[in-house]
Amino acid sequence: MHERKVAILAIGTALLVPAPRELAAQVVSKLEAGSYTVTDGALPVSMLRLAPDFRVDLPHARITAHGSAYVSEQQLQVADGIVSGTFTSPTVYGVRAEMIGNASRAVDDRSLGTDQVDVQTRIHVLFHQRGGMWFGGGVARPWRVAVVSSADIADAGIWGKLGGATLTATFTNFSFTKIAAASDTAVASLSCAAATDGTCERQSRFGDLEGVLHWEGGPLELEAQTGYRFGNGYDVTPDSRRWSSATATIWLNDRIAVIGGGGRQPALPLRGLPARSYGMAGLELSYWPSSRSTVPVSFPRTVLVKSFEVHPAPEGMQKIVIHVGGVETVDVMGDFSDWSPLTLVRRGRDLWELSMPLSPGMHQITVRTDGGAWMAPPGMPTMHDSYGGDVGLLVVSDRSGH
């Protein structure tokens, strides 16, 4: 159980490391509901599936909870659930560190449920915000599956953005000890013939190479992925050697989308889930755009800040209100913050707010979205600053804001 304690300690550390001064939370929720058809070698089964998603974003941390449940014989059955915590350092010279902790449970009709705790660290390198790469490693500890050890995970990936499309390629290597089972390949079963104590533990290793294409254009989002699993016949069943799937999302308005897709998923040995084909169609209730980016780090997009306003708020505070859609984060920075970024809180689809004390006088202020370039906010006087950029000039009078 040593690994378990280490994993829990690491998750706790990742979540407890205090985010710097600009602590401000943003809560995003999402719900998918629709028909889900799955086939894992037997007859296809269709069911009504609900998949809620909840996320709290802090300036350098993210906590997410995701689950799915289906209605079977008029009863709601939980299929899986996962709670994740991610701590991300600021980008320094294009390099960013990330620590991820996950705790999950998956329920399959072949088992009573499997649990897993895993911790990973990653180092990201960004190339001019248009692409990047990362490498990392971690440890996963599953329970109630044939895997009897903690699993070593090493992964590396590269991504790039081309117009509205984002391409990502990843390679993930898994290494663990498992008990050979009848459901394994015949070759694996044969390898146990020499076992004398009735058990057959063996070292297992495989690697997943996966490519993902994500494209967004207007209200349409498309995502397609395909993969290949490397490994010998002991570790990779034929039905998990290759896979591909696709999902299409059409936003009917800023809160409701029609979502549909299908394909093949490989087996997940660490979670005790078999390979399966699936098809799904349903509705998604969410803010638009939901965070479905295939890119592992935030990157700037060309966005239009629709409006930027400052209003007097109670107790001598000033409230900054920004309307900008299609972004994940909005920061402001200026003399009032000693030129350190302050992250705004999302209050709606494209509404962002931040209340803070601003002394009377003229302030220089800049804004950025998704960690991109700093720019002068629209709708207020601007001037060139001394370092090659533009700043907004915000006047706060004794009586009121701008």
Partner: protein, 221 residues
């Protein structure tokens, strides 16, 4: 359990590296001495400028803000020193021109000089009016200069409005109209001249005499 030792060591090393980076960044964010992020020569030069500003009775906060902005924008130490030295000059000039004004007004006047106004053009604002702030006027003035309005045109328009007692809303509305016209492609100087005529307190448009026999039924603004 059988594990390859090098993989475990690599995982431990990666974890330790990530934690070290996170801690280092966290500590850097709480740095109580912002000048500590400058190289020794730049730091020394900045401290000299700050001392000079204090001795001259000038506010050091705007200068320190320039240092922090430069650090935030990852500017070279020598560049930061040059910027702060220039701004120190603007503050001295603004104080010499305006006399005893508040720190906020002094910083705003320095911004106008930085945007391209001549010191003599600030002189009209030396005469203070009780309870009246020139921050909005200075801010809009700096913006007009940045947008390419000729220096003398911007100066005369802002000064005239100020002397006529225009309030903050008047200055702001003028700026809003002019920048809208410029964004639509109008020449900056022309945009200002057109809009300033429509502004209460602005130059009175030339009065057109009605044809004989017709009554003048509309007064000019």
């Amino acid at each position: 359990m059988t594990h390859t030792p090098w993989r475990r060591r690599a995982a431990s090393l990666a974890s330790a590296s990530a934690l070290a980076v996170l801690c280092a960044v966290s500590v850097r964010g709480q740095d109580p001495d912002p000048l500590g992020r400058l190289d020794p020569n730049s730091r020394f030069a900045i401290e000299l400028i700050m001392d000079s500003a204090s001795t001259a009775g000038l506010p050091t906060r705007p200068l320190m803000s320039k240092v922090l902005e430069g650090i935030s924008r990852k500017a070279d130490g020598r560049r930061i020193v040059a910027v702060v030295r220039t701004d120190f000059g603007y503050l001295k000039t603004a104080r010499a021109t305006l006399g005893g004004v508040s720190e906020e007004e002094l910083a705003a006047a320095a911004a106008v000089l930085e945007a391209g106004a001549k010191p003599s053009q600030l002189a009209a604002f030396r005469v203070r009016q009780r309870g009246r702030s020139d921050l909005e006027a200075f801010t809009d003035w700096a913006d007009l200069l940045t947008r390419g309005v000729p220096r003398d045109d911007a100066s005369s328009a802002i000064t005239k409005l100020w002397q006529d007692g225009a309030d903050d809303a008047t200055f702001h509305n003028l700026w809003k109209s002019v920048q809208s016209d410029i964004l639509q492609g109008l020449n900056p100087g022309t945009a200002l001249q057109n809009r300033v005529r429509e502004t209460p307190g602005g130059p009175t448009p030339r009065k057109v005499k009605p044809p004989e026999g017709q009554q003048e039924n509309q007064s000019s603004r």
